[in-house]
């Protein structure tokens, strides 16, 4: 679609593009120079601030990798709990019974409207006041609970949209064969919907991975982000270096997940092309992460 916006550049346009490139490069270089000189002023570029990440394996084994493990643990637990819960809520919202549909809808809409951070802080306080969960496990529990409540309701919407996107005839045919409602859902609708929504579900993983960082910043959860304090304390105030490395790890993990989601989507689309009567567009679910966003 990009190429539609402009013609194949002629000699004049090419010259102009070269000028733009040079100007843009100059602006970028200026910004880079300004940033680097500011960093150099505060002695953040000194080799000893960055070298630990390359030369000292302890910074990895003691801080970064355990932090990453906690991040992935919280993310994995959240998705494992949120997935079945979200599927149940999504099916509940599609129920024929008003008394199931309405309350489930209210629960889903409520938890989708609340920032994940508030859910985490609230569940942390609830665990502290009403349960015997020990204080070193509490941050993990709180983070997972917050993520599950929020993401289960997002997944519920994904499931609902997935089931609704199927051709009506699928459910009708199942009914005509004498299947009960539960059977229709379990054997006919859900298996097809899952393939449609799988990419959206995998992308939701990225949101979950990103949101675990909230627990590190505010609940004392020992995940990847929270390691920056320890690293800067032990390796000489290398704040910028520590943040750069931590951000790169997050980016690598999330880029990997995005890549897997894209591969999965491609495979599923190829596999289904022959079978699908109607071209079921994948559900675009722009989740933003952070305290929500995902929403988007």
């Amino acid at each position: 679609m990009n190429s539609v916006l402009y013609d194949v550049p002629g000699p004049k346009a090419r010259r102009r593009n070269v000028v733009y490139t040079i100007v843009f490069l100059a602006v970028l270089a200026l910004v880079a120079y300004w940033v680097l000189s500011a960093l150099a002023d505060k002695n953040q570029l000194a080799a000893e601030k960055w070298s630990p990440f390359v030369t000292d394996s302890q910074v990895w084994t003691t801080y970064l990798l355990p932090g990453l493990t906690e991040t992935l643990k919280a993310a994995a637990l959240s998705i494992l709990i949120a997935l079945p819960l979200g599927a149940a809520l999504g099916i509940g919202r599609l129920s024929d019974h008003r008394w199931v549909r309405v309350p489930v809808g209210a629960v889903v809409e409520f938890f989708r409207a609340i920032p994940v951070l508030l859910l985490m802080m609230f569940s942390s306080a609830v665990y502290a006041a009403y349960t015997p969960v020990s204080s070193d496990l509490r941050p993990l529990y709180a983070v997972v609970t917050g993520l599950v409540l929020y993401n289960a309701s997002v997944i519920a919407e994904v499931v609902r949209a997935g089931v609704l996107s199927l051709p009506r005839g699928q459910g009708d045919a199942a009914v005509a064969l004498g299947m009960r409602k539960g059977q229709t859902m379990l054997y006919v609708l859900l298996p097809q919907a899952v393939t449609v929504m799988l990419p959206a579900l995998v992308s939701q993983l990225v949101v979950i991975v990103k949101d675990t960082a909230l627990g590190g910043a505010l609940l004392g959860f020992g995940e990847l982000l929270s390691q920056n304090r320890q690293i800067t304390a032990n390796y000489g105030a290398n704040t910028i270096a520590a943040f750069t490395v931590i951000a790169l790890i997050y980016i690598a993990v999330n880029a990997l997940l995005t890549y897997l989601a894209a591969r999965l989507e491609k495979r599923l689309r190829q596999g289904r092309k022959a079978a699908a009567a109607k071209d079921t567009a994948p559900i675009v679910n722009v989740e933003m992460g952070g305290a929500s966003t995902g929403g988007l």
């Binding site: 346009a13 490139t21 409207a113």
Partner: protein
């Protein structure tokens, strides 16, 4: 049940006002930044396209919390950048807007890009046939339609942004989540009431946004 609110100890409205301000300023900032990014991403200059793509992919995959905390630790404490803020609170507020804008801009860019995709190719071809330059095609023909088509995803970005302002609590900006943390610590016996109040506050902030923009999306949709 609500008597702890009368003590005057907690500035509930003030905190939500800060949240609303954070959301508003960041929304304006990310709309501008996101538009600039999308213009770069579809531009004929390969370097700009590369920069736009790299920026979006890198920042989108970084947790917002990392962005905002890095603004505080990295920009403020290490590089002493204050963005003209005079006290701790003001600096935190401005840094939070910077972080939210840098992060949310990528999602605005993606929403607009999906909006651009809805504009039929014939429109751009016709505009070019009339002799319009790339800038004219983009600003006069494509973007106005893309914005109208992208209202729904943009509304989702705005709602997510409103909820994301809570992350500013990580750098002690005095917004709703920060006050809730304080209230939970002090009023442990009124835990559920406190949570209810803040939950209600956010529903109040996000629900009208969603309804209004949903209405606007229907109203302004380009009928094809």
């Amino acid at each position: 049940m609500f008597d702890f609110l009368d003590s005057g100890q907690y500035d509930l409205l003030g905190a939500f006002w800060v949240t609303a301000q954070l959301a508003l300023y960041s929304a304006i900032g990310s709309l501008i930044w996101g538009t600039a990014l999308v213009a770069m991403r579809v531009s004929p200059v390969p370097l700009m396209r590369g920069f736009g793509t790299a920026y979006v992919n890198l920042v989108r995959n970084t947790p917002l919390t990392v962005v905002i905390v890095a603004c505080s630790f990295g920009l403020n404490q290490t590089l002493q950048i204050t963005l003209g803020g005079e006290n701790f609170e003001e600096i935190g507020f401005r840094l939070a807007i910077l972080g939210l804008t840098a992060y949310t801009g990528t999602f605005v860019c993606e929403a607009l890009r999906s909006g651009i995709n809805t504009v039929p190719a014939g429109q751009a071809e016709a505009a070019r046939a009339l002799g319009m330059s790339f800038t004219q095609v983009l600003t006069l023909v494509i973007l106005p339609q893309a914005f109208r088509a992208a209202i729904t995803p943009l509304a989702n970005v705005l709602i997510a942004l409103t909820k994301n302002t809570t992350v500013a609590a990580a750098i002690s900006a005095a917004e709703a989540a920060f006050l809730m943390k304080e209230m939970i610590e002090n009023e442990a016996d009124a835990l559920f009431v406190v949570f209810g109040i803040f939950a209600f506050g956010f529903i109040l902030l996000t629900l009208p946004t969603g309804l209004f923009l949903g209405w606007a999306a229907k109203r302004l949709a380009v009928k094809r």
